[in-house]
């Protein structure tokens, strides 16, 4: 009965969304306040209905109701309770419900927090948001019904993919979806602005917190996914250029571009058509990412629910959303006022350059990701490009962009001179060059690229620090007051830019200095890798709630401290899957990483395959991402976003986390 109620709630949500897609749009065209107000009510109702459906689906999982096909396929009695709940979104159908839920919550957020918007703009935004909702609800109900029942109820289910039974993967998809779907708000705002034929500073100021919130979630989601791959797949890699990873990277890159171009639109009313185009593209790439994972058009370790029928449906959605918005753009954008002029050297020009580089990088990743599809469409070959392609084209495009990051915030709006920028950046440039020279000498010519990477990282951190230093020194009479009155948005930018530097340092160290060794070891044996001494202490069998495992105990001596590490190889009998739990000895300067493989005959008798890695500075990669996310949150908390918004009672955080800024 419960599942049927859930299904009914989804159907009602679809009907509500249909009404919400049409009526407010008509109301905005006719100036009918009642019809426009309907949009706000419908958006909240739709969120409630989908929320109910999602909770019901979760309840089916919690009760292990195997008469629901989805539960029988993705849960089992022996599965730990937390993973029973997490299984709600660890599959295609359930994750689509989460998708529409987040979409509806964002819609409700616009309805609730948006009363300082022009009513006609708000109505149109809600209407576009509902159109996306209609498409996804229909997709969910007609091609991937989460509540389908089984005729014969099995006594036990077939368990969630063991790779997904992991804390990291419990939070990874919701965070990614918050990011992906959050860009739908920017998309709806862009479409509504095109329909109205009007883009102004208020439009950009209103849209920016939503973009920022989505970007923060996407940043965390990507970092978490990368960290999960690092410790769970047992290869010690943190980024594989897998199509699905790229699918999350591309909206992130464009979202980053959008964040920056929206600043120009807000402050200077320039670049407005460009900001609109980016809003359309960022969400389109999120849709394409969904298409990629679920259509089976590309093979990937992530692929779930491969079904060409679904692919056709999603492709139709992409045609409707992106095609429609881009056509609207082609018709309406040329007539729009293009705003204030700016000089060739100015903050605006710097941000434009930032956008161009980010676009180029996105294009490069896009081409690499879809190369097999494009090749297959024009010939019979099925080939893909590997990491060498990305290293060859991604890195050279990123370097000028990163060099620009430290210069951009020091530029003046409207007009500046190269001489004045050079003057401001004198000391960071000197220190960076000295560091580059020193490191090149110290590490040797062979590692000049590493020296360059570290110098680049220092340049980013110094450039970020310089912003604060200049601001604080300006009020030399009472520097403490300057520190206290620094707007959170500035601190946010400093943190994010410095975080980028920290990530660059980690990536450099991992690309150049990571070492590894693979061998067959017996208990008592010691292996050396650089300064690491790894001793296999013992091998034991163990049993978990729904798996059996071989555990290997190591003691790792990294030239000073001795650490005990445990690596496991788990076998999940229900799904007949194997997973690796690596033993990781983490530290600021790097990690020791030990993973075991299958038992094998070695030179000295029966042993076990052991892979030992030394990963210098690897933690910096994710810490840098965390700094970017924290920086984004600081910026989101800035008063600027609240200016002009009337006081309102605090609402429970029904919408995305971090949205308190709109209070």
């Amino acid at each position: 009965m419960l599942a049927e109620i859930g299904q009914f709630a989804l159907i009602l949500a679809l009907v509500t969304a249909l009404a919400q897609a049409v009526l407010p749009m008509v109301g905005a065209a006719r100036g009918d306040a009642a019809l426009m107000a309907f949009g706000r009510t419908a958006a909240q109702l739709q969120a409630l209905l989908i929320g109910a459906a999602f909770l019901i689906l979760m309840a089916c999982f919690a009760r292990s109701d195997f008469s629901v096909a989805l539960v029988a396929d993705h849960s089992a009695l022996s599965q730990p309770f937390a993973y029973k709940l997490a299984a709600t979104w660890g599959n295609h159908e359930g994750s689509m419900v989460l998708w529409v839920l987040i979409l509806a919550l964002f819609g409700a957020g616009i309805a609730v927090y948006g009363d300082n918007l022009r009513p006609s703009l708000q109505a149109r935004v809600l209407s576009v948001q509902a159109m996306i909702g209609v498409a996804f609800l229909a997709f969910s109900l007609f091609t991937s019904n989460p509540f389908a029942r089984l005729d014969i109820v099995p006594p036990d289910g077939t368990e969630l993919n063991p790779l997904l039974q992991d804390p990291g993967l419990v939070f990874h998809p919701p965070l990614l979806y918050l990011g992906y779907v959050g860009f739908s708000v920017a998309f709806s705002f862009a479409a509504a602005a095109l329909i109205e034929g009007r883009v102004d500073a208020a439009w950009a100021r209103w849209m920016r917190p939503w973009v920022l919130a989505s970007w923060i979630c996407l940043t965390c989601g990507i970092a978490l996914g990368s960290f999960w791959a690092y410790y769970e797949l047992g290869w010690g890699g943190w980024w594989f250029w897998d199509p699905v990873e790229n699918a999350s990277l591309m909206p992130w890159l464009l979202g980053t571009a959008l964040l920056h171009s929206a600043i120009v639109t807000e402050k200077r009313q320039a670049l407005s058509s460009w900001t609109i185009l980016l809003s359309i593209l960022a969400f389109s790439l999120s849709l394409i990412g969904t298409f990629l994972v679920r259509s089976g058009i590309l093979t990937s370790v992530h692929a779930f629910a491969v079904d060409p029928a679904r692919g056709v449906f999603i492709l139709a959605m992409i045609v409707g959303a992106t095609g429609g918005a881009l056509t609207l753009f082609a018709i309406r954008a040329p007539a729009m006022r293009s705003g204030a002029m700016f000089g060739g050297v100015s903050r605006e020009a710097g941000l434009t350059l930032n956008n161009l580089f980010l676009m180029a990088v996105t294009a490069v990743v896009f081409l690499g990701t879809f190369y097999p599809v494009i090749m297959e469409a024009v010939s019979t070959d099925k080939i893909s490009v590997g990491p060498p392609y990305y290293n060859l084209v991604f890195v050279p495009l990123m370097i000028p962009l990163l060099l620009l990051v430290s210069a951009g915030p020091l530029l003046d709006w409207k007009r500046d001179t190269l001489r004045s920028v050079a003057e401001k950046l004198k000391w960071p440039a000197v220190i960076t060059l000295a560091l580059f020279a020193g490191l090149t000498l110290g590490l040797g010519w062979r590692n000049a690229s590493a020296a360059f990477g570290f110098a680049l990282a220092a340049w980013l951190v110094l450039g970020a620090g310089l912003i604060l230093a200049r601001r604080w020194r300006a009020g030399s009479r009472d520097p403490w007051r300057q520190v206290r009155t620094t707007p959170p948005a500035v601190i946010g930018m400093v943190l994010a830019h410095a975080g980028l530097g920290v990530t660059v340092a980690g990536v450099t160290a991992m690309s150049v200095f990571a070492t590894s060794k693979i061998l067959v070891m017996q208990p008592g044996e010691t292996a050396e890798l650089g300064t690491l001494k790894v001793t296999l202490k013992d091998i034991a069998a163990a049993n978990g709630p729904n798996y059996s495992a071989v555990q290997a105990y190591f003691s790792v001596d990294d030239g000073g401290s001795i650490r005990a590490l445990k690596s496991e190889r788990r076998f999940y009998p229900i799904s007949r899957n194997q997973t690796t739990e690596a033993g990781i000895g983490g530290g600021v300067m790097g990690n020791a990483y030990v993973a075991i493989g299958e038992p094998q005959q070695g030179p000295k008798g029966q042993g076990i395959v052991v892979r030992i890695y030394h990963h210098p500075l690897v933690g910096w990669i994710w810490f840098g991402f965390l700094m970017m996310a924290v920086g984004g949150s600081a910026s989101l908390s800035d008063r600027r976003f609240r200016v002009g918004a009337p006081a309102r009672r605090a609402l429970p955080p029904l919408t995305a986390p971090g949205m308190v800024a709109a209070e």
Binding site: F329, A330, F370, I518
Partner: protein, 180 residues
Amino acid sequence: MKRLLFAVPVAAFIALVTVFGLGLTKDPSKLPSQLIDRPLPVFALPGIAAINPESGGFASTVFRGQPALINVFASWCSACPPEHPMLGRIKAEGVPVYGIAWKDKPADTRDWLAKLGNPYTAIAADESGRTAIDLGVTGAPESFIVDKAGRVRYKVVGAITPEIWDATLKPLIAKLRTEA
């Protein structure tokens, strides 16, 4: 002129959708079967001097008389090291293992094998990736089982795990050995 510029995104999008549409008409599960039961594409690849000076690479003509395994790998490939011990085991069980280093610098391949050990019967370098295209390689590692007559009989996408070897490849090779 300005209007045309604003129409560029739509035009690019239409081209993209066409490609996606075409892509959907192809069955993704066909992926491994492009070459199945067909002769190996003709190739003759150079060796990697520092590793096996005597062999000097190999050509598609060496696959005659007994079943063999071709493994496509690279030093930049992160899934290859975990597969490495498995290749040693396969060779130890009497199956020739031919390695093709895909889009890899010979010096990198050499250093990598020096570090991990060399399980290969012979190694050839496919630096340009041309042969990999002929073989329909989609990523590394990938492996092909070739029969006595030099025809491709099976393809493994991704690393060969002990399960794949025991359940699929080993019985297949035993069967291929008995074929005329």
